[in-house]
Amino acid sequence: MAEATTTNPATTLLQVSNIEVIYDHVILVLKGVSLSVPEGGIVALLGANGAGKSTTLKAISNLLRAERGDVTKGSIEYKGQRIDGLTPNDLVKRGVIQVMEGRHVFGHLTVEENVMTGAYTRNDGAAAIRDDLDLVYRYFPRLKERRRSVAGYTSGGEQQMTAIGRALMSRPKMILLDEPSMGLAPQLVEEIFEIVKRLNEQEKVSFLLAEQNTNIALRYAKYGYILENGRVVMDGDATALAANEDVKEFYLGLSGTKRKSYREVKHYRRRKRWLS
């Protein structure tokens, strides 16, 4: 079972301690989740549908209130300070930004306007913002082609790029990425993770990413947590996790070292070993 992650040598940037989240005053979703992200780390949050990954991220970025959810227990600290009471705006100013699952682009704004909204909190001048816009276009050339299109009409993948580009515009220190790879073509998925890596290495941006594509997530992350049913059921170094038999079977789709063909999998739902 997951114990407090004191084994991490680097200083902790984000520390989530034992939080509980309730939606609508009745639905208990997170039942005491603790995790930490070290300065300059890339931490993956893995788990099945409905495990509570998105909820965890929203609890950190304080977007829960908008969905009538509440953190009822536990604390969240960023750089040693509690941030549970801050507004999302404050958090973005401090460098914490979330890329929401399901894209959430501003449908009536053009792609470029969408990306530019990400720079709302900045006041380091138009030129710097312009440079960053160019950078985003360099990361996602497709966006440049579609910059004048109304975002609501763009394709799923284009919207996903828009959402990520938008977040990058705020020059964050810590990005909460919720399913970045969803709906992206394989090539682009690789590219996105390369961008993550580059930002992490060059700009010292830390990442907490919720990702279903365990394979790639564990490849780029340094540390991982596995969430089931609102609880952390396993955590460890990415390499260790990737080597774990259960993870291999359920999250990586490997039997032994060989990938199983989807055609071959005959049984439907199998019992999770750590839950039984």
Partner: protein, 264 residues
């Protein structure tokens, strides 16, 4: 659901010919032709914005292409209305889940059977006799789908509150409820982990095998595509760049350049 044992890929069920579609300056599709054969699983792949979803929209009548024709079950037409497509047995799921958020899982799937419900309005108002019998008959079918998809536990939950992956499954359930001849799936496995993808693949394969439903699916996970599809159509910038069995496509130079990248 009529059971059809075994599965033999037959002649073309649907054929698109010379489809071109543009929005203002954006060319979403240009001169695309391919066919979907009876009982097969066809995958449509391609980079983001290539026009895959638009292609499905054309097939089920939501978009009306500027030129080209769609031939379905022998009838050729330039365009049709979405509900006509539905009446002729085309069902689909959506890339950005399009469930009825305020309704429960059960109601969502039941709504997939609307076209099959015939009892008139006044009997329904009284909820009496034939109306109740019909309601229960359909409920039984829907319960079978629910069992099949293993979503019994969320039968009465409003779908807006479900996690993403389950919503996708409910959406598949709604499409299946229509007992379609042609099932169009737009990224049914996006946002799922391997285990869930395995389940989903199983559902897709079973539907295809047991009921003989023809399936066209869009998917970005090459593992899934290569494993379960009989044929693959590749689009790039609105054009078809390849078309063939998975192994052929995987080896195609254009496809590798445009889509797969080096690592695959």
């Amino acid at each position: 659901m009529t059971q059809q044992s075994g599965r033999k890929i037959g002649g073309p069920l649907l054929k698109v010919q010379g489809i071109s579609l543009s929005f203002g300056g954006v060319k979403a599709l240009s001169d695309v032709s391919f066919e979907i054969r009876q009982h097969e699983i066809l995958a449509i792949i391609g980079p983001n914005g290539a026009g895959k979803s638009s292609m499905l929209n054309v097939i089920n009548g939501f978009y009306h292409p500027q030129s080209g024709t769609v031939t379905y079950k022998g009838a050729t037409r330039k365009q049709m209305q979405p509900h006509e497509a539905a009446e002729q047995g085309i069902a689909r799921t959506f890339q950005n889940i399009a469930l009825f958020k305020g309704m429960s899982t059960l109601d969502n799937i039941m709504s997939g059977r609307l076209l099959k419900m015939k009892v008139n309005f006044f009997l329904q108002a009284l909820y009496w006799g034939p109306a109740q019998r019909e309601e229960i008959a359909h409920r039984e079918v829907v319960e079978r789908i629910i069992d099949f998809l293993e979503i019994q536990a969320i039968r009465k939950t409003p779908v807006g509150k479900l996690p993403y992956g389950l919503q996708k499954r409910v959406e598949l359930g709604r499409a299946l409820a229509a007992e379609p001849d042609l099932l169009l799936l737009d990224e049914p496995m996006a946002g799922m982990n391997v285990e869930e993808k395995e389940d989903m693949c199983r559902f897709v394969l079973d539907v295809n095998e047991e009921f003989g439903t023809t399936i066209a699916l869009i998917e970005h996970d090459m593992g899934v595509v290569m494993d379960i599809s009989d044929r693959v159509v590749v689009l790039d910038y609105g054009r078809k760049i390849a078309d063939g069995v998975p192994d052929e496509v995987r080896a195609n130079k254009d496809v590798i350049d445009a889509y797969l990248g080096v690592s695959h």
